[in-house]
Symmetry: C2
Subunit: 414 residues, 2 copies
């Protein structure tokens, strides 16, 4: 099933806000066999919205539309949809009651702007927004469906999961079975990977294809197959998964679409180990990534972000003379930081970073992007230095990833 | 000047990767008076790419195109552009030399896939990619311009800044002056803000408009004015800025498009104070935000991420009896965490969090989303509890913001 996405909002077009909704929708609809045809991002402008709808309906029967609603915007999208699908703007008592309840729950006063949210085109079927104030609107004409949803990410996500996905699946059902297999690959660049998989790719059966999804040091490989014969497609996918593992060996660090801190967490759990971090240049980002996983408190004890040298010495016990002799971005220092984290936070495992994120602080021998990192597990401590490209954000993000990969490698030797 | 953006890539349409390029381009072009008309995100598919170009050229004379290049994709976008603009695919010796240099710099071997990147349509003017291997291509026909750029964010950003923006400005110059004023607003919801600014908005002179850009607890207000008379527009903007300050008072925490950790950093610098954090539920994210600002080591000393209770006691000196009596998510505990951070890390100021990010761990009296936070500055310690909505990610993000706002408020009383 093909569909189109239209995201509305001036804030998206000046780049103040990034459109994460379209990606969320795609991630949740693709596994159900729903493929996005195109995404259009348009301003809060009646003419552009109408044009985008025309274009989308020319290619697909379903449009999922986000944004362009909300108290300061309600005067554009809704009347445009009303003109497009016919009818007039009417007060919806249910929506009004919902708006009042939401405002009350949030201890806010109802005002004229919020009250206007209860006006909807008479041509739509309203899906009550159980999370926020902007109503969801389902329009249908000549077999074509447009669902207008709020742009606030948690409202959109909540309501897609509670109502919209289910209603779309009930309305359109084409009986094709879609199978996915995702593999998380590291330690190889995209072009080298493509060469290694050249023959494999050319041997793929009809209806199955392989996608490369590189993102900052990790490449996700995704096999997609569609067929009306679920048994056959399933058997094919199993066989191809085994082949990929044979071809890529240790480069595959996980089966399934998992994030790195999740893979790490599962491994720590399996081994019954606990983790802490000692972070300088990554500034707490490794701890933040680790704790973004629900249940991480089972194995993660905490972190010392030792931005200042005094903190490296006082809390992590790094030797001052080693800092003087080798500099703070050095192997002895990160090793002692990892040891110190285990000691101070009472864990078996630790990961540590010390580097120059930039833009300042680089020297000819240690330019911006130089990052030392260490991982400790039981008695073993390993360390490595990386020269990471890009600006401050990119160095921090990449160092966060590389340090976790170093730890994962050590854990996989257990 | 109006332009269109086309982002190419299957990975964007299945939601595996979020299109951050379009936002980056918009943020950097808007202040120069270049407005995005629409953004289209399309798959690696010749027909869809052609259609997107037709649509974009129907509305604007300039298209900035990202992605669809790179070793495993080169067979679609480039030939499509070649058919669209004419000519044939030719080997560009300069590009080949550049590809070889980049590979050498990265200590990688040249292979058949990377070599193919040196093939370009004869109808384009190549802009050498000084950062990566995919060449940038400038196409021009009947006064219309299309620039094809790599989708890797740091390559795109680097090359826009080094070459593309400058060349676009030189090629199109319409002599209109654009002025912006951005204000960072907190402590008021969008609809209440809209009511408060209703009269102000209606009194805006022709050519000046106000945009609301809400994002997770912060609303950015942006005044945009365009005119051929720079003096007039500048005077208008000054007057309107003053009016906004009079109307909103303390709700405006900064003039200019600044991020919260930047505002905090500037204030700490002004006051000559140092900062540390003690984080439980935010898991290091506050430290990560603070250290995302270049030069933050001048005032930020470090953090103790005390995920486990033992760490709260051992490193931050939280009293065990207080944890037993009040629970770990409580006012006495966050106050002691803030005190402990100042002591352990040797700073004047600290911010601390303890809460339930979920999905597990909630109780009837302390449901998921309950977050206690404290801020300390000199002798003063303030604490507050917030009931934050949403899933784990959202609670962490929002708690990170609210804790920083609490500290900022305290600092502004200094």
């Amino acid at each position: 099933m093909k569909y189109s996405i239209i995201a509305i909002g001036d804030e998206l077009l000046i780049g103040q806000v990034t459109d994460t909704n379209s990606g969320w929708i795609a991630r949740h609809m693709t596994p159900l066999g729903w493929d996005v045809n195109t995404i259009q991002v348009v301003p809060d402008d009646a003419e552009q919205i109408k044009l985008a709808i025309d274009r989308a309906f020319a290619q697909t029967d379903v449009i999922l539309m986000t944004g362009g609603l909300g108290p300061t915007k309600d005067d554009i999208t809704k009347p445009t949809l009303c003109r497009y699908f016919g009818g007039e703007m009417v007060l919806d008592k249910e929506v009004e009651r919902n708006v009042m309840q939401v405002m009350e729950r949030r201890h806010l006063k109802l005002n004229e702007y919020t009250r206007l949210q209860a006006m909807v085109p008479s041509s739509c079927r309203v899906i009550q927004n159980e999370i926020g104030t902007a109503p969801l609107m389902w329009f249908e004409r000549d077999g074509k469906v447009l669902v207008s949803m709020p742009g606030v990410p948690f409202e959109l996500q909540g309501m897609m999961e509670r109502a919209v996905i289910q209603q779309l699946l009930a309305r359109f059902n084409d009986g094709e079975d879609i199978e996915f297999r995702t593999f998380v690959v590291t330690g190889i660049i995209e072009s080298a990977l493509a060469m290694q998989l050249d023959e494999f790719e050319r041997s793929l059966p009809h209806g199955i294809h392989l996608a490369y999804l590189p993102e900052g040091g990790i490449i996700r490989l995704r096999l997609t197959g569609s067929s009306t014969d679920p048994g056959q497609i399933n058997a094919d996918m199993e066989r191809l998964s085994r082949q990929l593992h044979e071809l890529l060996g240790g480069h595959i660090i996980a089966d399934g679409d998992k994030r790195l801190p999740q893979i790490l967490g599962e491994r720590l759990r399996e081994l019954g180990l606990t983790l802490s971090t000692a972070e300088s240049c990554t500034g707490g980002n490794i701890a933040h990534q680790i704790t973004s996983i629900a249940g991480s408190s089972d194995y993660f004890k905490g972190s010392v972000v030792s931005y200042a040298n005094e903190v490296k010495m006082s809390l992590l016990g790094v030797n001052e003379q080693d800092i003087i002799d080798n500099g703070v971005v050095s192997e002895p220092v990160v090793r002692q930081m990892a040891e110190g984290a285990c000691r101070a936070l009472g864990t078996n495992c630790a990961v540590a970073t010390s580097g120059i994120a930039g833009p300042g602080g680089g020297t000819p021998t240690k330019p911006v992007g130089t990052v030392w990192m260490a991982a400790k597990c039981g008695d073993k401590v390993v360390a490595q230095v990386k020269q990471l490209p890009g600006d401050r954000d990119r160095v921090i993000t990449r160092a966060t990833l590389e340090a976790q990969l170093l730890l994962l490698k050590l854990l996989n030797e257990e």
